[in-house]
């Protein structure tokens, strides 16, 4: 999956009402809560077979930081 498609999927699965890009800070989003975290963990696990743990979630700031945690090599 390329970065652009991932961001679109993220926006869709998290049902975000505002558009996001690489620099958007995920935890600042109005929709961010424990359920959003859960959806994010599920999405990343399903798409990349990467299981985000609590430390990973803590480290996430921007969309780019999430991509870094997942691993750049996982993207086209």
């Amino acid at each position: 999956m390329d970065k652009k498609s991932f961001i679109l999927k993220l926006q869709n699965d998290l049902e975000l009402e505002t558009e996001i890009n690489e620099t958007s800070i995920l935890k600042d989003l109005d929709e961010w809560d424990s359920m959003t975290e859960m959806v994010l963990i599920g999405l990343v696990n399903e798409e990349f077979s990467v299981r985000l743990n609590h430390d990973d979630i803590e480290k996430i700031s921007t969309v780019d930081s999430l991509i870094e945690i997942i691993g750049f090599d996982k993207f086209d």
Binding site: D13, S34, M35, M38, V39, I41, N53, I57, E58
Partner: protein, 242 residues
């Protein structure tokens, strides 16, 4: 006593296997990867027969029974511990995912029971225990598939208990809360310490150990429970009392 046990290689299933063997039972153990308990199997070779099988392939379950060596007597009990636990929010609970969850947690159990209860495989008065979960009577965000499947198990238990009572075959369910198993270890890795503490606070007696659950299972397959059928036994350190 001859017992068929699923999910025998880890968690509550493995502890059940250990205690059954210690109590002098002969166990037909079903699991996916017996290398995990190789040492225990070596030490107890005369009390256990293993069958490597993936219960997700529901259509092949009847074949397991035709392979059992029952020359010295039919089965007296079946304990179905195999199951999967997943945190999947509603938005990601696709039919495909739910199908997988129900295949292992519900349909495999019904198919096992359908074969087990045939006269050629089990004695009259046999006992069956299904592992449900306290989530079968409660709810939790992100657990739609899991809660639904564990609730379905309770329906299976009640209905089959009535249907099989004419042969005095008893069917019951055990509903554990959070006990320390490889499955719960994975769950705790995805949440932070304050969330873990919060969950712990909801368990008046703290989190359980597999050893806290197995005695009830052994009681239910014993003759001491001969007048108990179609029931659900919650073992959750007080979690569901709230």
């Amino acid at each position: 006593m001859k017992v068929l046990l699923t999910g025998a290689t880890s968690g509550i299933g493995f502890e059940t296997l250990k205690q059954l063997v210690n109590n002098g039972c002969f166990v037909y153990a079903i699991g996916r990867d017996f290398s995990k308990i190789e040492l225990f199997l070596k030490e107890n070779r005369s009390s256990i027969e293993t069958y490597e099988f993936d219960l997700a392939i529901v259509d092949n379950i009847e074949n397991i029974f035709s392979k059992l060596d029952l020359d010295n007597g039919k089965l007296d009990a079946m304990i179905h511990c195999a199951g999967i636990e997943e945190t999947t929010p509603l938005i990601q609970s696709t039919p495909e995912k739910l199908d997988h969850m129900f295949n292992i947690n519900v349909f495999s159990g019904i198919e096992l029971l359908r074969s087990f209860s045939k006269k050629k495989y089990c004695n009259d008065g046999a006992s069956v225990v299904f592992l449900s979960s306290v989530m079968g009577i409660l709810g939790q965000p992100g657990k739609i598939g899991y809660c639904a499947s564990k609730a379905a198990v309770l329906g299976v238990v009640k209905s089959s208990a009535l249907e099989l009572a004419r042969r005095k075959i008893r069917v019951n369910a055990v509903l554990p809360g959070i006990v320390n198993t490889p499955m719960t270890k994975l769950l705790f890795e995805s949440i932070n310490e304050s969330q873990i503490d919060k969950i712990k606070e909801m368990h008046p007696l703290g989190f359980g150990e597999v050893e806290d659950v197995v005695p009830t299972i052994l009681f239910l397959i014993s003759d001491k429970a001969r007048w108990i059928t179609g029931q659900s036994f919650v073992i959750d350190g007080g979690y569901s009392v709230h």
